[in-house]
Amino acid sequence: MSSMTPLLDMEGVHKRFVLHLQNQTVLDVLRDFSLRVLPGECVRLSGPSGMGKSTVLKLAFGNYQASDGRIGLRTADNTVVDITQASPRQIVQLRASAVGYVSQFLRVIPRVSALDVVAEPLLERGPDGHPLMELDAARAEAGRWLERLRIPASLWQLPPATFSGGEQQRINIARSFIRTRPLLLLDEPTASLDPLNTATVIELIRAARDQGVGIVGIFHDPEVAAAVASRSVAMQAPSP
């Protein structure tokens, strides 16, 4: 398989929600959606709220189940797995090796310090069954990322539950970029950041692209979009 095999290949994807408790209301939030993302590309999903942009990211991450269509993800060993057909174990493995997702909000874990939240992806077990890094090395690396994203060292040992929205978002970004996957899904990564930190995140995204990471992102800020996106896909309301 060549390097031009898409990292993400969505074809004819349909997402329907059936709300059983609201009189079986049916919501078709995505119809016949297709998207291919190659290494080094950054595709911006644009359009007003409610057009299914976040849904696309959640489908590609296996957080939502597609109602129809296929979503191929390229794995580390260059095979393609259709995440709509993957078992829970396969999806867990894809998330460890093929696809990362940065949501707007950090899901905080009680008692775990900011430093350890960021270090955690480096402590996951690799294919050989051993953690990817020793704890001390992982923490040192996490510290470098927190520094880069301007989180004051006085906060590193604290659980991020009490941090501001912008601080939490930066923790989330550090946690994702500390170990990039070949495909990165970004949902408003700069939504609550000040200009200085926004500029840092733009640098990070561009550096990831240069390394061949494929990115799909939602960027409401046109300046951020212009700085990072290589092309744009306009999302429209699904026709009834």
Binding site: V18, H20, Y64, P88, Q93, I109, R111
Partner: protein, 263 residues
């Protein structure tokens, strides 16, 4: 990714008299994987747990476990209800653990904390007092209990400490599978967080597989990669935890998820 499951459950059925409370449940569990079983009281989730843990004989179906062979070898799947009582008991106190909702059900309240923690080692034939005590002390520390309390009885411990003591008592033999029945629900919220964080760390460090029965969706989200939703003895939905919670398909799961504050 290891190829063979640690546990294989097929079409498991349990009944109390004529009343069927588990109606044909099947799942596999792999090493290191945590599975949450959620559902309301009376859905059959605790009965399912007890049946899988060889504590309640089912009326139908199979439970197979990869019994350890040799020091490192993972064995072939063996039907647990076809084993002798002695084999099952050995399994239950070496390679399995069982954490009860009420710590008093899983501890000996009238002997010291140290004796509680080292009991499984003694059952395996360890007799050296100093070594047993050192291991017990080490495990008390790992579950954040001051080793100075080693000679105190659990009835002098708080609820959270008792629950942590119960966990140490189970994990001291480095089991590969732990069953937990509502491990946090008898605790105050502030104490729960500590226990949850500890369980999360221990399951990762020890590559423990676990089945956790809980009615708390936030507990499931924090600890489990996969979940099963039970209603009326049936598994109405099963899958990746975040997928089931964020995109529930079944009406009952939608009701469960919409009935709580976002977990």
């Amino acid at each position: 990714m290891s190829q063979a499951p640690l546990l294989r459950v097929r079409d498991l059925r349990c009944a109390y008299g004529a009343r069927e409370v588990v109606r044909g449940i099947s799942f596999d569990l792999w090493p290191g994987e945590v599975l949450a079983v959620v559902g309301e009281s009376g859905s059959g989730k605790s009965t399912l747990l007890n049946a899988v843990a060889a504590r309640h004989a089912p009326v139908g179906g199979t439970v197979e476990f990869a019994v350890r062979q040799g020091p490192d070898g993972v064995g072939e799947l063996a039907e647990i209800y076809a084993m002798t009582e002695a084999q099952r008991r050995l399994l239950a106190r070496t390679d399995w653990g069982f954490v009860h909702q009420n710590a008093a059900d899983g501890l000996r309240m009238n002997v010291s904390a140290g004796a509680n923690v080292s009991e499984r080692l003694m059952a395996l034939g360890q007799r050296h007092y100093g070594r047993l005590r050192a291991q017990a002390s080490d495990w008390l520390q790992r579950v954040e209990i001051d080793p100075a309390r080693i000679d105190d009885r659990p009835d002098t411990f708080s609820g959270g400490m008792r629950q942590r003591l119960q966990i140490a008592r189970n994990l001291i033999t480095a089991p590969r599978l732990v069953f937990m029945d509502e491990p946090t629900s008898s605790l105050d919220v502030s104490v729960q967080a500590r226990l949850l964080d500890m369980l999360r760390m221990l399951t990762r460090q020890m590559e423990l597989a676990a089945i956790i029965v809980t009615h708390d969706l936030a507990v499931a989200r924090l600890l489990a990669q996969r979940m099963v939703v039970m209603q009326g003895g049936n598994a109405v939905e099963a899958g990746l935890t975040d997928q089931v919670l964020d995109d529930p398909q079944h009406p009952y799961t939608q009701l469960l998820v919409s009935s709580v504050l976002p977990p």
